[in-house]
């Protein structure tokens, strides 16, 4: 009995310490969400963990205010203004599936363009992790009529989709210090939310140079639109190889070479 009291006493001693810690976390959590989203605290806890978070306009999130086509909402995230970024996470918190895409920039700019499906009006956010362990967060609200995640993609509605799956078209635009890569990969990107159609999506893409050196890496989730069109700014190279898989293990591999097709020159 005595021992138990003593233990409780010790716990009481510890209490102020806990209070301080939780107060500190609360102080960060209470930083006002500029988008006033009801889901922000959950997103923060589930996706960003205990790391410090600041809302930061240096992370640019380009997207339309209104989704004209809720199956294909264009988004571009650019955190280059932060300097070095080790991870870039994109999420749409009022979507049934929150995580959209993750990038490990490696040698690329922390910039990625793509399209997403939205089920209803939702914040589209990007969180960029800097080497000091801080997440820099920005976003914007995309209004939408809805249905993007629970409508079968046209790709899978088309009986022919399987014959073109994994097909890649792409092009390199050399700049002074960077190479812009744009590519489209044929894939239905099914969310698994449509009755009778399982989740079926590309989940990883590695971008390599001619020597096999990794330039950048993407992890894609269900909300990325079908037949993903990806934009990246990579270090200057004359060719880039994309290697990836979907969640069924189907391989994706193609080499995009600078210049245009011979016949079109």
């Amino acid at each position: 009995m005595k021992a138990r009291v003593a233990r409780s006493f010790h716990l009481l001693l510890l209490l102020p310490v806990f209070c301080c810690t939780t107060n500190k976390i609360h102080a960060e959590q209470d930083q006002v969400d500029p988008l006033k989203s009801p889901m922000w605290q959950d997103m923060r806890r589930n996706l960003l963990g205990d790391s410090p978070v600041i809302f930061d306009d240096r992370v640019r999130v380009l997207a339309p205010g209104n989704a004209e086509d809720s199956m294909n909402v264009p988004v571009l995230v650019d955190a280059s203004a932060l300097g070095e970024v080790s991870r870039l996470l994109v999420f749409a918190e009022l979507n049934p599936i929150h995580k959209v895409l993750e990038m490990e920039p490696l040698q690329a700019n922390p910039l990625v363009g793509f399209r997403i499906k939205v089920q209803q009006a939702t914040p589209v956010r990007a969180a960029a992790l800097t080497p000091d362990g801080t997440w820099h967060v920005a976003g914007r609200i995309v209004e939408a009529a809805g249905g993007g995640c629970t409508v079968p993609s046209l790709g899978s509605g088309d009986s022919d989709w399987a014959s073109r799956m994994g097909e890649v078209v792409g092009r390199l635009w050399p700049n002074n210090d960077a190479t812009r890569l744009r590519l489209r990969i044929m894939h239905p990107m099914d969310t698994g939310l449509v009755p009778g159609i399982p989740a079926f999506h590309i989940d990883r893409l590695d971008f390599l140079d001619a020597t096999g050196e990794p330039l950048s890496r993407l992890f894609l989730y269900e909300p990325v639109a079908e037949n993903p069109v990806i934009t990246l700014d990579l270090p200057r190279r004359d060719s880039v190889t994309v290697v990836g898989t979907d969640n069924n293990g189907n391989p994706i591999e193609a080499k995009i070479v600078a210049g245009l097709q011979e016949a079109e020159r």
Binding site: P64, P74, V169, G170, R180, R182, V229, Q261
Partner: protein
């Protein structure tokens, strides 16, 4: 019946009609633009809860035999109020309603004309069959309570392009495509009025949800050669001469050139949402909204063409 009784029964009748309309009034005022030819002008805005979807021009021709109506507006309510407005101009029966193309702001008033032959091009009828209900849903979200009780009523007659004489008016029914896959224009050769529908916009940014801009531009060359005195655009004010045709052409040419150049430069779709447009383009009503919608409609195909010219080796 005394005068007072008569007056009060009119008031009661009016009260019944307005209460059935839930107090909502589009304020439709037919404007006589040519002999026996009337237009009801919508506002140069996007759909919203205030305008109830009345962003569109409808019209009617009072012939000796009866009334020909061109488009029925965005809702059941609009259709009913359009009929009431026609009834104030003439006692003649309504002979026929034309639907110029499938878009909801032009056809969702059909419900008020259900006992009348409703005519449209075959492609329009098929488009309405496939997409009418989703348009109706979308309109409810955009225009709100004005849409109450609206359902899709499909046309009952297929238009055969060519000449049609009705009650002394010689109408040319002209099939075009470009704004949608089937666009009907009606040229009244008796008055010289061209109901150009959404092939021509005036002072308002053209919309492109089902557009093929290249077909549209080709078609506009044909429109410019038509012998008309007065042009009624689908949206915007009535105009003499070719100015609205040129404006529509200039916008489409700018739009295609701008999006193509952006795709050729390797721009991501989200990067083209904020355009640098020349002042005569950006001055068009609802430019920013319609431009962003057009990016969504048109950029994927333009970009696909650009990307497919890149060199890819499948390993």
């Amino acid at each position: 019946m005394t005068l007072a009784q008569g007056f009060s029964s009119i008031l009661i009748a009016l009260a019944i009609v307005t209460s059935a309309w839930g107090g909502k009034d589009y304020g439709l005022k037919p404007v006589e633009i040519a002999p026996n030819t009337y237009v009801l002008l919508g506002v140069n805005e996007h759909f919203n809860f205030r305008n109830g979807g009345n962003i569109v021009n409808t019209g009617f021709i009072v012939t000796q035999a009866g009334v020909v109506v061109i488009d029925s507006g965005p809702s059941r309510l609009y259709g009913e109020q359009l009929r009431a407005a026609i009834g104030k101009v003439t006692d003649k029966p309504i002979l026929k309603l034309f639907n110029t193309h499938l878009h909801p702001d032009h056809v969702l008033g059909n419900q008020a004309f259900e006992e009348v032959p409703i005519a449209a091009l075959a492609g329009t009828i098929e488009g309405m069959r496939q997409q009418g209900e989703s348009f109706n849903d979308a309109m409810y979200r955009l225009a709100g309570a004005w849409m109450a009780g609206t359902r899709v009523v499909l046309p009952t007659e297929t238009v055969q392009p060519g000449s049609l004489e009705i009650g002394g008016h010689h109408l040319q029914l002209i099939e075009m495509k470009g704004h949608s896959h089937a666009d009907l224009m009606i040229l009244d050769q008796t008055t010289g009025v061209l109901f150009a529908a959404d092939m021509v916009f005036h002072g308002r940014t053209p919309t492109t949800p089902h557009a093929d801009p290249n077909h549209w531009l080709q078609a506009l060359q044909r429109v410019a050669k038509l012998d008309f005195k007065l042009l009624v655009p689908g949206h915007g004010s009535v105009i003499e001469g070719p100015q609205a045709i040129e404006q529509t052409r200039d916008y489409l040419q700018w739009l295609i050139a701008h999006l193509t150049r952006a795709a050729e430069e390797g721009m991501s779709m989200a990067e083209v949402l904020q355009p640098d447009a020349p002042p005569e383009i950006s001055a068009l009503a609802v430019f920013h909204q319609e431009y962003q919608r057009s990016v969504s409609h048109l950029y994927p195909a333009i970009e696909a063409k650009v990307l497919s010219r890149g060199r890819v080796v499948r390993e």
